[in-house]
């Protein structure tokens, strides 16, 4: 029987991925990066991890969340409070932020009975409710004056490798999920939750599981971001702009593709860097245009574009078929 489906993860792809991680790991040492570039790369890694984790829910399960800022903010404030008040080592405080954000995501269980646009609208409500609650919860978040964390130059320098490792792990997890039987179940739920139940897949269980995982990872990215910024305030951390940011990065990069959000995050951060400073009013307009272009011409985003280019090039190199 000619039953040879492709291997779960092609070996060359694994090698390229590992090499890229190692290269990025030695870049600051070898190239003597400016502090600015060093920090922007750190920010990029944090953004990548968040975008990838959003995509587990939005892309793999197909439930588009406009409320992930809630988990991002909770991760950040819990981590901040744990390191400030309990004086635990910073990495432990990050972990605490991730766990609490994941637990918060379990609370989304009733929402997950909704599908499609109904789910999306409900997540807007949850995100905004979280923003209001945490803005008024001054004892915890410092209210509108925010929370200042001790400024630690060494930590900020080291954060580069923490963030890189984190992003690499999340990227590897994305690929493994996408290619595994677990990912297959998620895609089946995305296609038709009722038909999935008819072949023995419990949509509620897997949705809950993925939402918790996605929430915990986004919470962890929020916690790293808190250490990165040293100052966090609820209006910004829980802001609707952040929730939209997750959606934008994933959609521009390629919703449902394993690694598309990485590309989306790169575009997002670069646009932010080069347009936010010079033309702060322009960058949202540009995202809007990118979004329209993606939806009209390449629903799989930059990843889809990338695949198309690869397909074009391949026959030329391989000499036919």
């Amino acid at each position: 029987m000619s039953l040879r489906p492709p291997p779960v993860i092609p070996r060359t792809a694994g090698i390229v991925f590992a090499a890229a991680c190692v290269a990025l790991g030695v870049v600051p040492v070898v190239l003597d990066l400016s502090a600015y570039a060093h920090n922007q790369l750190t920010f990029l890694f944090i953004t990548i991890a968040g975008a990838l984790a959003w995509n587990w829910m939005g892309g793999f399960v197909g439930q588009i969340s406009f409320g992930h800022a809630a988990m991002f903010g909770i991760g950040a404030f819990v981590a901040g409070r744990v390191s400030l008040n309990l004086h635990l080592p910073v990495p432990l405080s990050w972990l605490a932020g991730a766990v609490v954000a994941g637990v918060f995501a379990i609370g989304a269980h009733p929402l997950l009975k909704l599908r499609g646009p109904y789910f999306s609208i409900a997540t807007i409500g949850v995100g905004e409710a979280a923003r209001v609650v945490f803005t008024y919860w001054e004892g915890f978040t410092g209210g509108s004056s925010g929370l200042s964390l001790p400024i630690d130059g060494d930590l900020k320098y080291q954060l580069y490798w923490w963030a890189l490792g984190f992003a690499a792990l999340v990227a590897a997890a994305s690929v493994v999920i996408r290619r595994s039987s677990f990912g297959l179940k998620l895609l089946a739920i995305k296609a038709d939750a009722d038909a999935a139940a008819d072949v023995g897949i419990s949509a509620p269980f897997y949705q809950d599981l993925v939402f918790v995982l996605s929430g915990a990872v986004v919470g962890l990215s929020g916690a790293l971001y808190a250490s990165f910024q040293s100052f966090i305030e609820p209006a910004d951390m829980f802001g609707f702009d952040r929730s939209i940011g997750f959606v934008l990065t994933a959609v521009i990069g390629g919703v449902g593709t394993a690694l598309g959000p990485v590309l989306g995050a790169i575009v997002f951060v670069v646009v932010k860097l080069y347009l936010l400073d010079s033309h702060p009013e322009l960058h949202l307009g540009l995202y809007g245009m990118l979004l329209i272009l993606v939806i009209l011409f390449e629903p799989l985003g930059l990843a889809g574009l990338f695949r198309r280019v690869v397909r074009r090039l391949r026959p030329a190199r391989g000499g036919g078929s």
């Binding site: 296609a191 008819d198 897949i201």
Partner: protein
């Protein structure tokens, strides 16, 4: 031996009883045809057995174990699987993946569920329904008959003891219909699966079924061999109307 026992099964939607006190038994290795006019409650009956709907009252036992009230995915794991009248393939997965995802939870005595096991099983089932050469295609590229085969393959991949086929033959051309009837017989003969099927294509049901069960307005009106059922005046009345009604109509 009796595989599936249904006692006093009732489903009400508001004031309307879509199914009203149905008693039914499906034997091991049997093909049972369920027929009835449109709106008789056939699909409701299937939805109740498959766990897509919860019964208002009554019970369903699979090999003596109560399965009524279980959600659909638990019914599948217990061994009852259904196919849909309107095929519902996972359009974003290949034909192979469509079947693979159904095979993941398949449990057979002695065989542990696992990825490798599921792959073998998915390949074997696709071979069985005659779609082995379409594995890497997407369901959208298949003909209707092909998608119906896929629907059947997906159901079989779950390693069921009972399969409920909702109008699998309807809508395909006569040659395909004949091949499909053959396939359903092989599901019973070679895989030992008990089959319950509804069908509008009467010759197909009558030639395939060991027994036929007739529903009308949610109630059982007849049960027996195809020959007995066809001769039953109540069945004829349900399908064609009584003489008095025909007189009024004409």
């Amino acid at each position: 031996m009796t595989r599936l026992v249904i006692r006093g099964l009732t489903k009400r939607f508001g004031g309307l009883a879509a199914l009203d006190g149905v008693d039914l038994a499906l034997r091991e290795g049997e093909i049972l045809g369920v027929i009835g006019p449109n709106g008789a409650g056939k699909t409701t009956l299937f939805s109740l057995i498959a766990g897509s709907l919860r019964p208002s009252s009554g019970e369903i036992l699979l090999d003596g174990r109560r399965v009524s009230g279980l959600p659909a995915h638990r019914c599948v794991r217990a061994g009852i699987v259904r196919t849909h009248q309107i095929v519902r393939p996972f359009g974003n997965l290949t034909v192979f993946e469509n079947v693979l995802v159904a095979a993941i939870h398949a449990r057979r005595p002695g065989a542990r569920p696992g990825a490798g096991h599921a792959r073998d099983r998915a390949g074997e089932v696709l071979e069985f329904v005659g779609l082995a050469d379409r594995m890497t295609q997407f369901p959208g590229t298949l003909t209707l008959a092909g998608r119906k085969r896929l629907e059947l393959a997906r159901a079989l991949a779950t390693a069921p003891r009972v399969v409920l086929l909702d109008e699998v033959i309807a809508g395909v051309n006569p040659t395909e219909a004949l091949a499909f009837a053959q396939l359903i017989r092989r599901v019973r003969d070679e895989r030992g699966v008990s089959v319950m099927m509804t069908e509008h294509v009467m010759p197909a049901v009558m030639s395939l079924s060991d027994r036929v069960f007739v529903l009308d307005h949610g109630k059982q009106i007849a049960e027996g061999t195809p020959a007995e059922v066809v001769a039953n005046p109540q069945v004829v009345a349900a399908y064609l109307g009584t003489e008095a009604e025909q007189a009024v109509a004409s």
